[in-house]
């Protein structure tokens, strides 16, 4: 990978949530929503985070923004650790990041006019006069492709796609550098979905934004991302450039995920890897490799040890014993790939 500026460095990040016990006798349990994730995010890129529900992808996003207090690990923003930030300093850290939410119906206050919704973050974080703020609202509406008179209307007067545009305008209001988009197009129809994706890409070019794009939809992530990380039960099982990861998935889970996507292809029947069962409960994750309960290539070793993420090639890192040089399958797999 070429030399790029690291915007965010995430080291061994963990977010555990205690589970309420029914009695004092019961063992203390925790849900390991994010379990030891280390990722670097480069300036100007889009990092896609893919995972099924329960994989911890949303919690991961929230932990970076310190909306969820991490249990362990650190987040460095431009080299500065953020875990001890408080008050004004935390505020100014958050000023540089914004979030776009999944549900465009729930994330806009139904009693506020669009103008006030977009203006609100500016009131808190920028020193602008009322007129300047109004000008900025107009400018933002135009940027996201909405008419100027939208500012006098209420959220219910807009369709899902338009609301998502409003959400994006609000996120851009205070000139953030980094945007976490948590399933921003999942609630939208396909024909509108592509409009919003295109808008997000245009805005990225215009304002040099860095995106963390969280989604369960591998085709959408492929479209917008530069690099992709695959999460399973709170851990990164594979991370790589989009090109490599989609063309040559290494982890058995990534392979299965990709093959599970329905495709429009009538001529060659696709090779399908049908996974058994569902995601195990994060309260009680499997010992050893978290994926071993559903893995078609499971080995003895996977039941005991947890594989670490290691560099498989210049573009991909994978956490799987199949690619461990000690593994019997290693040579066989190498020749196959």
């Amino acid at each position: 990978m070429t030399e790029k500026e690291v915007l965010l460095e995430i080291n061994h990040l963990k977010a555990y949530f205690p589970v309420k016990r029914k009695s004092m006798k019961e063992e203390k349990k925790v849900i390991k929503a994010v379990d030891d994730i280390s990722i670097e995010i480069y300036r100007g890129e889009t990092l896609g985070i893919v995972g099924e529900s329960g994989s911890g992808k949303s919690t991961f996003g929230r932990t970076i923004l310190k909306l969820v207090e991490p249990t362990a690990g650190e987040v460095l923003y431009k080299g500065q650790p953020i875990q001890h930030l408080k008050g004004n300093k935390l505020q100014s850290y958050r000023n540089q990041m914004q979030m776009i939410f999944q549900d465009p119906f729930a994330s806009l206050n139904p009693r506020m006019r669009i103008g006030s919704i977009i203006e609100e973050p500016m009131k808190l974080q920028l020193t602008l006069t009322k007129e300047q703020r109004k000008e900025r609202v107009k400018e933002l509406l135009q940027k996201v492709g909405l008419p100027e008179d939208a500012m006098h209307k209420f959220p219910h007067e807009f369709s899902g796609g338009q609301r998502q545009r409003i959400g994006i305008a609000r996120a851009l209001a205070i000139h953030p550098e980094f945007i976490i988009a948590d399933e921003p197009v999942s609630a939208l129809d396909v024909s509108v979905q592509s409009q919003v994706l295109n808008l997000m890409m245009d805005l990225q070019d215009e304002f040099q934004l860095t995106y963390l794009f969280i989604s369960h939809d591998l085709s959408v992530v492929k479209h917008i991302s530069d690099r992709v990380a695959v999460l399973y039960l709170g851990r990164v099982v594979e991370i790589g450039t989009k090109k490599e990861l989609y063309a040559n998935p290494l982890h058995p889970y990534t392979q299965a995920l990709l093959s599970a996507i329905p495709v429009v292809n009538f001529d060659e029947p696709k090779q399908e890897i049908l996974l058994q069962g569902e995601l195990p409960s994060p309260m009680n994750p499997p010992v050893g490799c978290v994926f071993h309960t559903r893995c078609p290539h499971v080995m003895e070793r996977c039941h005991q040890e947890r594989p670490k993420l290691h560099n498989e090639n210049d573009h991909q890192r994978v956490a799987c014993f199949l690619y461990d040089e000690k593994s019997e399958n290693y040579n066989y797999l190498k020749s196959e790939v």
């Binding site: 129809d189 024909s191 592509s194 890409m201 369960h216 990709l258 329905p262 049908l274 996974l275």
Partner: protein, 344 residues
């Protein structure tokens, strides 16, 4: 995905129009002049965006439409030659769950939280079959095994909240199949599920269909799911079916501008484009439909008279129908548009 052997007509929907009376006095024409046929053993997909009227159509077939505010203004729905719209509620309840059954999108809300899985299954079986509780229980157990629930003996005594989303959808399929329905209506059955689970459930639905020799009306917004499951596809837009064709024909040779655009906007794993093509604008709300063709305001090929006149349905081939002004009566591309269409 082979053609069904029997070509017997199972369900016929003729000129179905449904209107909703809104609180503000307006009327919403949610379904207008919908015609289609489902043959025995066939899987037919009804595809459309939200608000296209696809779910309303399925509810009308089940006679589960809230009336009022809904109103079926015209048309007929015939199952095996009998018009369901003339049935009394009591007669209809013999059809529902027996000859036609339905799977809903939300496996969380479509099971009753206060009864065990076994209880809910037995209720459905005993309503339509004269069997003892013991026999019904055994049948339920067997069905649960059929839908791939490994520890069926345990699950049958459990409550819905103890099961995961995928398991609940399996239970729903088991319940829907318990009386060997001739028609299974699946309304977005996998939308709430993860991809790996979605693949399992789709496989299962097709397997159950084969074993019970049912037909499926598959309602979805997801074109790619359709490609893998359906024999025939109907595309719905703003309350009307705009195109209908066998699945291969529809994907390889789409004719209606809306279908063409919809297929292009799908982000796909195969192609790599910088910008996704998109359809400008949004689906018009059902209370403010445009005059003329419903798609005209968003259509790249719209002609002057598209904005005034509703297009008729043209047959392009025997099984390929399109509702569009670009085609003449004979189903050929209208001459003046041919060049711009081909150049697209």
């Amino acid at each position: 995905m082979e053609q069904p052997k029997e070509k017997d007509v199972l369900l016929e929907v003729n000129h179905l129009s449904i209107k909703f009376h809104l609180k503000n006095g307006k009327e919403a024409k949610v379904v207008e002049d919908v015609n289609f046929t489902i043959h025995k053993g066939e899987t037919v997909a009804l595809v459309g965006e939200s608000g296209s009227g696809k779910s309303i159509t399925s509810l009308a077939i089940m006679r589960l439409l809230p009336i009022p505010p809904g109103e079926i203004t015209s048309g007929s729905i015939t199952l095996n030659g009998k018009n369901l719209l003339t049935y009394k509620n009591k007669e209809m309840s013999r059809i529902r769950g027996n000859e036609i059954s339905m799977i809903f999108q939300e496996p969380m809300t479509s099971l009753d939280p206060v009864f065990t899985i076994g209880n809910q299954m037995i209720e459905g079986i005993r309503r339509h079959q004269r069997v003892s509780k013991k026999e019904a229980w055994n049948k339920a157990l067997q069905l649960l095994k059929e839908v791939g629930i490994a520890n069926a003996e345990k699950v049958i005594a459990e409550y819905p909240h103890q099961l995961s989303g995928g398991m609940r959808q399996r239970v729903m399929i088991a319940i829907a199949m318990s009386n060997n329905p001739q028609l299974l209506i699946a309304d977005e059955p996998t939308t709430a599920l993860d991809v790996t689970v979605q693949a399992q459930i789709l496989k299962l639905m097709l397997k159950m269909k084969e074993e019970h020799r049912s037909a499926i009306l598959f309602i979805t917004h997801d074109m790619s799911v359709v490609a893998e499951t359906a024999d025939r596809v109907m595309v719905m837009y703003a309350g009307q079916i705009v195109e209908e064709a066998p699945v291969r024909e529809l994907f390889l040779n789409p004719q209606h501008p809306y279908t063409t655009a919809l297929l292009k906007t799908m982000p796909s794993l195969e192609t790599d484009v910088k910008r996704l093509p998109s359809i400008p604008g949004t689906v018009p709300p059902a209370y403010a439909l445009p005059d003329g063709c419903r798609f005209a305001p968003r259509c790249p090929h719209a002609l002057a008279h598209c904005h005034q006149e509703q297009p008729a349905v043209h047959h392009i081939q025997e099984a390929h129908k399109v509702r569009c002004h670009l085609f003449t009566e004979k189903g050929e591309l209208a001459h003046d548009r041919e060049r711009s269409f081909a150049g697209n």
